[in-house]
Symmetry: C2
Subunit: 250 residues, 2 copies
């Protein structure tokens, strides 16, 4: 399922201009997630410099970007699609610790080894940086480091919310909180809607919420029966936000 050498680069060593097949736009400046991402902290001149060490990549669905405890060779900015981040136990039990949406940064902690495995849920576009180059770039840009730190703080806060959810909430509360959370996150990156895309499988949702696939399915079916949501292909329409917030509010 995962490729042996993740993200083997077909044009490693090529200069950026030789290798922009992945990026629809004209570099960082036109990047559609720039304003939501860590890059928003950068001046135009710095952005140009970043451009030179960045590399746009298309990542097909189900591809592994990197694996838990592997040496962290790259860091990424997700520009399109959804990435699942997870930890596994030796016996195969899996906990998804987060879904990365466009604008999210992977490798925020800047640590030597990846703490989680990252896999593309659907077709994904990323902006890739060689970690050492990125570190050199960050060095001497305290405002960027500050921004990275802010993002890390936000991540930590989300992780703590998720702990509360995993440890103390019922199946229905978990599902409701999940749907509201995804709606909020999609709203932040510009798609405000009561229809929440759910490109990930039921198994992914189960592994994110600490449930089984059957419980996720049953709970969604029940919410649909009670007209709280409407299940649509690859997503859910939220019909009764009040009722959802009653279960899902933190």
């Amino acid at each position: 399922m995962s490729i042996a050498e993740p993200l083997q680069d077909s044009c490693a060593g090529a200069t950026r201009s030789d290798c922009r097949h992945g990026r629809a736009t004209n570099g960082c400046e036109d990047c559609k997630v720039r304003l939501f991402s860590v890059c928003a902290a950068l001046e135009p001149s710095e952005l140009e410099e970043l451009d030179r060490i960045s590399q746009a990549k298309q990542v097909p669905a189900r591809t592994t970007l990197f694996e838990q405890s592997a040496l962290a060779g790259s860091v990424f900015n997700v520009t399109d699609g959804v990435v699942r981040l997870y930890k596994s136990l030796p016996d195969g039990r899996r906990q998804i610790v987060g879904f990365a949406l466009p604008g999210d940064f992977l490798g925020l902690a800047l640590q030597d080894r990846y703490g989680v495995t990252a896999e593309a849920v659907n077709d994904v576009a990323v902006c890739r940086f060689v970690r050492s180059a990125f570190l050199a770039y960050v060095d001497g840009k305290p405002h960027l480091l500050r921004r990275l730190h802010e993002f890390a703080g936000h991540e930590l806060s989300l992780a703590q919310d998720q702990m509360l959810l995993l440890g103390r909430r019922s199946a229905e509360e978990k599902i409701a909180a999940f749907l509201l959370h995804m709606q909020t996150r999609y709203a932040r990156i510009g798609s405000v809607s009561v229809t929440v895309p759910l490109p990930m499988s039921r198994q992914d949702i189960a592994d994110y919420l600490g449930l089984t696939i059957e419980t996720v399915s049953r709970t969604l079916t029940r919410l649909a029966r009670e007209k709280v949501v409407l299940i649509v292909p690859d997503g859910v329409r939220l019909l009764d936000l009040e009722r959802l917030k009653l279960s899902g509010a933190s």
Copy 2:
């Protein structure tokens, strides 16, 4: 249970030398947790400067240091004792997201508002900084910011481990992992031993592991019956590390 105005300072405005009743030692340089804490990144001259904005405080057991979503006025370095960090739901369900030991920094994320509530488990000593002063101090010390970021990355990684534990592990695995984790953490700060201090209550452990107090008690009793651990006052002696690791390994 918690005081109305947390940590009202009896000597606010006093200079450091007037107000060292809390610190047994002679300032940062002699601080016994310095080498484990964020402060290890600092030069002697910087340490002196830090000294000037720091304030040692004794915090009695069960005192609230700060409350979730309150404006973050201070940040803290724990120098002695144990602090519980938690989130609560409106109906009173509680999830402890971590225990802070000596050397741990509270307010790492440097955010405007506290994301969790912090309470002293036993008598605690902290080194307190007014947040704005600390931010000013950090500004222009990228190596310290880097160190804070490293700590935050480590925190995030621990949080993700805890998500795996909360979402996917059985009661016995949770307890085993918890005991091994506490042993490791105490070892890092200089007390290597198979006897793990547990100053927190069973309820705290339950709220940390997403269990009930009864399940914690029963599981510990069973492990004791099976000679895996020996329950001692305010702690546990680990008798069969192999067996524990079998359950608790990540």
